[in-house]
Subunit: 502 residues, 2 copies
């Protein structure tokens, strides 16, 4: 049986490496590629994707998976080999369901849409992409149709990023969360506006970047297996488990942009770096789901990086780096400023309390577009109405409204947004377990000590890679499924204290 596993792994390693190579082509195109390199790069990325798809859908993989079925069943569910075969089967079956010609058409349409969006957004011209977005909805529905038997048409699309999650469950949980958030936001934003102007003085960008790197080194991000570069939009990418890179952007007049972006991406990267190295080259060498991934970026960015304890340790160092700007600012005032809650338009700039309304709005609009109850031409209006109703602010234009996020213009409709809020919810569930197991964690953070927490996260979550689904992981680690209770408790405690609520 061993030789069949070996052959399967060898075939999967080729697919894995082609994906990694595609990621490098993409990374270079957003970091260092000269302007005119784009057309050839697009062609090369297409070629690698096509060869990868051909190799993943090779019938030989299907035969091997069939032949290995009995062997798989003889092994414990959570053994490495059973998990490898199980996850490979899931990916193989998903890959062969969709005709290559359809995938090519979809990719081409997406590339074209993205290109138009890059001009439509600055021009504040939704009409320019409306027709393309209508086609994206059609193609997204068609993609779902290759997976018959779904409860909701979005379910197969969600399963690409958050395998096992269903619209019915997500919708209910998001509604609960929204019901908790709306009154909290109302109470907080009825208070006088907090002055955080000192965060927007000029801060040397070099020093900002250096400070972020110092923090994530202490977090445990391994620079022998990663690095940071500048991009227009920050992200994390990997070219192997031993080469997991992050990117960031830095603004001279915003102390938070580079710092929290760096902490966020480092969370994604520390997760990938923590995966069992024995999984290198297999489909297990990735995070469990988009939601679980986001739970870790949010843990290191928010639960830790925006906590009072963290700044007890780091604020003196920050002040030392920027004495002119911060000498008169107390740690308490700084802490409250970086956690300022406000009704705002842009998802990526939102504070922890209002943040989740942004993905929830997008998820609800996706459901309606896919169900056919919302036409793309009515999308801007629907968007603005929800912002007025939920966040209490109406976008003055589409640029900062329906055109703000790249997702719908660089991918399908459905599957891209739920992970952000699922991640926030899970972050608090996992973190509560970590503190239950090691009550000293919060105290350690206040001394710049993260090894207990990161060792626990590695053991509980990171090492397993994609072995378990998000739901399986939640049950293994917390003893129950998705629950908003720890997250809502966390938000209420933290912000009651900051805003001195009842």
């Amino acid at each position: 049986m061993n030789t069949k596993v070996t052959e399967l792994k060898s075939r999967l390693a080729e697919v894995y490496d082609l994906n990694m190579i595609g990621a490098l082509l993409n990374w270079d195109s957003s970091t260092y590629m000269p302007l005119d390199g784009a057309p050839a790069r697009g062609r090369q990325m297409g070629l690698i994707a096509r060869i990868g798809h051909e190799k993943m859908t090779d019938p030989a993989i299907g035969r091997l998976l069939d032949e290995l079925h009995a062997y798989e069943e003889s092994l414990p569910y959570d053994s490495d080999e059973a998990s490898l075969i199980r996850v490979a089967r899931r990916e193989y079956e998903r890959a062969i369901r969709v005709p290559a010609a359809f995938m090519a058409k979809l990719q081409e349409h997406i590339a074209e849409t993205f290109d138009v969006w890059t001009r439509a957004r600055p021009a504040n011209d939704f009409k320019r992409v409306q027709g393309m977005l209508e086609k994206t909805v059609d193609l997204s529905r068609q993609l779902a149709s290759y997976f018959p038997g779904y409860q909701h048409i979005i379910d197969p699309l969600i399963s690409y990023s958050d395998y096992g999650m269903k619209a019915a469950d997500i919708r209910a949980i998001f509604a609960d969360l929204r019901n908790q958030l709306l009154p909290l936001i109302k109470t907080i934003t009825s208070q006088d506006d907090m002055d955080d102007g000192f965060l927007h003085q000029p801060y040397s960008t070099e020093k900002q970047l250096a400070f972020g790197l110092d923090v994530i080194k202490l977090y445990g991000y391994d620079f022998n297996r990663g690095r940071q570069d500048l991009t227009h939009h920050p992200y994390t990418t990997k070219f192997s488990l031993s080469d997991v890179r992050i990117t960031t952007r830095v603004k001279e007049n915003d102390l938070c942009e580079a710092l929290f972006g760096t902490l966020h991406e480092s969370g994604h990267a520390i997760y990938e770096q923590g995966i069992n190295l024995a999984y290198e080259g297999t489909p297990l060498a990735s995070g469990a789901s988009s939601g679980v991934h986001e739970s870790q970026s949010r843990t290191w960015e928010n639960l830790i990086g925006r906590s009072r304890g963290f700044w007890e340790f780091f604020y003196p160092k920050l002040k030392e780096m920027f004495p002119t700007q911060l000498s008169s600012i107390s740690v308490d005032r700084y802490y409250r400023a970086i956690n300022k809650v406000q009704r705002s338009l842009i998802r990526t700039d939102a504070d922890e309390v209002t943040y989740n309304l942004h993905p929830i709005i997008r998820f609800d609009l996706e459901l309606r577009m896919l169900e056919g109850t919302l036409e793309v031409r009515d999308l801007p209006q629907a968007w603005d109405e929800r912002y007025a109703n939920d966040i209490g602010i109406t976008p003055p234009n589409d640029r900062d409204g329906v055109l703000q996020d790249v997702h719908w213009y660089s991918g399908i409709i459905g599957g891209a947004f739920q992970g952000y809020t699922l991640g926030n919810i899970m972050s608090a569930q996992f973190y509560a377990e970590a503190v239950k197991a090691h009550p000293e964690i919060n105290e350690q953070i206040a001394s710049g000590e993260f090894t207990t927490l990161s060792a626990w996260l590695k053991q509980a979550i990171y090492q397993h890679g994609a072995k378990f689904t998000a739901d399986e992981l939640l049950h293994r680690v917390t003893g129950q499924g998705l629950s908003i209770e720890p997250y809502v408790t966390y938000l209420k405690n933290k912000y009651s204290s900051i805003y001195k609520l009842g």
Copy 2:
């Protein structure tokens, strides 16, 4: 017939793009890749090379080339389509001659040898690589054996880089050149040593790099289609005709290192950027040969960049950038210092006059190793003897002797070194033609004006890419084949003036 050409081009474009992707994987590994990324990167480079080789040796390409034979013969020899088919056939036939299993074995051996060399060189330990080098000689001989009918066993190996050049011709020409150089060197080095110490003061590395970039911008290197990064060893690479990158290294105590390295690599890059863009994705989208390529790097580095006229224009700017270091140095003294001739050990640091002895020595040693008249165990001694005899200096150790160049430890024996000297010889032949056509060129250079020269080079050489062999190009451009006369005249004139010789 058109559809067959289209199919051929489409197949060749895949091979081309896979080569370009391999080049990006390599570029990243020498610029930005974190330390531990190496093992996966090696695996990925191997995968891309294997897929590229599979696609290049696909029998469908052979069938298309057969079917296109009559069509090719109906076209003018120098038409784009006939040239495409001709060059593709040459590459296809070369690729199918060598069994894939042998190529894989060779690549693996080379990778291993390189790895050992990176440690053996600093340790000054030739013995550590001796056994591997012996195997490299065997494998190089075996590689040649797949091309029976050669005059000399090195000929098929040379043809990978300098197609059409034969050992018999090269040997004769190199002997002639050596006979001209030895007395010239003797005369010059019998003079008192020239003091060039001011070149070795501390010079800000940032400013050094900025100055180099300013020069190559004026040369015409297009930064929308290229960029410069730092590496341990400088080189030029491309990921398409619109993404041709150079690398450099910079030393604080050496004003020449980064500058002339940059000018050199820019010459390679300007050549690639000047290839007809219609050739993108085909085997015509590359330089004509290693020698022709080197002729252009040497043109922009030496014939121009180390000329008196060039520094009439640029020296005041350099002085402005480094007033402390250069205020007391006249342009004449500077010009003579950057052209100082001396007996030295390291090929890449050698001046124009002694330089060619280094490749000629290596070429002669390659011939003897491949012929079987020199054993690898006797190579260090043979090396040292030739250095003592030709250059008048004996290497104090193997690190700066037989271990100095990466070529034998990262490739086959044979084919890597002749191109350097062929390039120097051709550079003067081409340049003489340019000046004959446009006598104003030398005057223009003294005003920082390079467009007449670069337009001529583009029209005469660059645009054609790999359409013509080096010999064809020489005949088209100069009306004759390889000739050392213009090069020797150039050296004698320039250095007679610098050293005030009879």
